[in-house]
Amino acid sequence: MLSAAFSDPVHDSQQTFRAMLSALAEPMIPGTLPRLPEAPATLDPACAAILLTLLDQQVRLWAPDLTEEAQRWLQFHTAYTSAESPEQADILWLVLGHERPPLARLKQGELRFPDRSATVVWQVEGFTELGAPCFEGPGFQTPRRLQPLGADAAFWHEWQQCNQHYPLGIDMFFAGNGQLVGLPRSSRLREESQACM
């Protein structure tokens, strides 16, 4: 039997959206998702909340890690369209550390329409400042250090590469255990020689 999703879809998705908006407006600050839905076992409720808020029949999702059960659940609650390849996806749900397409393959928009680009929702275990790179840009009052558990230097190099032709690029959310962090394409890695925080 399919499990329920948000207990109050209108208000729960509004609350989730506001958390996402804040997360993207002030990147790399861990925020709390105030409403977590019931979700299939393999899909973290934090990611499920974000997907329920973003998806409908107008967007194409690429989510190689979705189990058949989770796929049916998400399909029932959002009526999303599956992307045929990662290149076509508007939204991706990826588990950090699992096998995934290279970020360079994702939609980065066009110069006239940079908004026609992918948004990646990463499922993560948590966040740490330890060994994290330092970010700056719009939304940073001061530079900040943070990264999701499981991200390494190679990951940040790949991220930097795919956002180097700003305003083209991809936007990301990291979510798990009731928390979320946003990282828009406008954020920049700060040179390590400069002080952080």
């Binding site: 407006a25 719009p138 939304g139 940073f140 009052q141 305003p167």
Partner: protein, 277 residues
């Protein structure tokens, strides 16, 4: 018969579409995201873009303030506020400090905004280059290549003709050093408040079907020349009601002899100053 609305009037599909647009707008500060603007129960030009943004953002625990030219008690502000009272039942206020969400037509409040607040601007024409270039195809290309020479020529012509930059409202800004954007028809007096604003600024244009955004703590520069730096308006007299010398003043003609009075355009700011005194 009691008419039931979905919370905040818009259907959930429309809200989702606008929300996805707003997220892209925040991710690309100053870039105009196209969106499927809906027909609203008031005509274009009355703030339909701002209303759709507010409707997509607002939640039950928000406290909404609506201003029109700084005033909480003008037709547009009163109507939009009562519209949201009716379709959401949220708390409303006239106090800038108490509001979590502020929809505005053509002003930024004098009371400094705080982190966590969201300002929603009603935008008649989101394209700063539109009066200089009528074609959307063309302006989109100019933005793509960051080709903003036209706007500098326009400001230069102002100087050649008037001796100074005569643009006094809707004064063009560069957002995050990349996109030329319209701050909506706020007086240029308010432009400095856009720079490193602690609050998130969202812009909605209903007729033109565009959204754009300025995230908090974002670099926003008003265009200028080295020998003609950007300057804001100033007044010789203080506000006749509260005595403020720092606020944006409206000129009111008081009789047939042409007597004039200058008063704060921000009614909440002016009232609270008089109450404190």
């Amino acid at each position: 018969m009691k008419i039931e609305f979905n919370f905040a009037f818009l259907d959930e599909n429309t809200k989702r579409m606008i929300r996805r647009g707003l997220l892209k707008a925040v991710a690309i500060p100053g870039y105009q995201v196209p969106f499927g603007s809906r027909e609203m129960p008031l005509p274009y030009g009355w703030g339909t873009g701002g209303i759709q943004v507010t409707a997509s953002v607002i939640g039950r625990d928000d406290c909404l303030k609506v201003i029109d030219q700084g005033a909480d008690d003008t037709t547009n502000a009163v109507n939009i506020r009562s519209f949201f009272q009716k379709v959401t039942g949220v708390a409303t206020t006239t106090s800038t400090a108490r509001a979590s969400l502020i929809q505005t037509r053509h002003r930024i409040p004098e009371t400094p905004l705080r982190p966590g607040q969201i300002m929603v601007f009603q935008v008649p024409e989101p394209e700063p280059l539109r009066t200089l270039e009528a074609s959307e195809q063309e302006t989109r290309t100019l933005h793509a290549y960051q080709d903003y020479g036209l706007m500098h020529v326009k400001l230069y012509e102002d100087i050649a003709r008037h001796g100074h930059i005569a643009t006094s409202y809707d004064y063009p800004v560069m957002v995050n050093g990349r996109y030329l954007a319209s701050p909506s028809p706020i007086p240029k007096f308010d432009n400095p408040k856009l720079h490193h604003s602690p609050a998130l600024l969202l812009f909605g244009a209903g007729r033109e079907k565009r959204l754009h955004a300025i995230p908090p703590w974002t670099r926003v520069e008003s265009l200028a020349f080295d020998d003609h730096p950007f300057e804001v308006q100033g007044w010789e007299a203080p506000c006749s009601l509260c005595g403020s010398r720092d606020s944006y003043l409206d000129e009111i003609v008081t009789d047939n002899a042409g007597s004039r009075l200058y008063v704060c355009s921000d009614t909440d700011y002016c009232t609270s100053r008089r109450e404190e005194a």
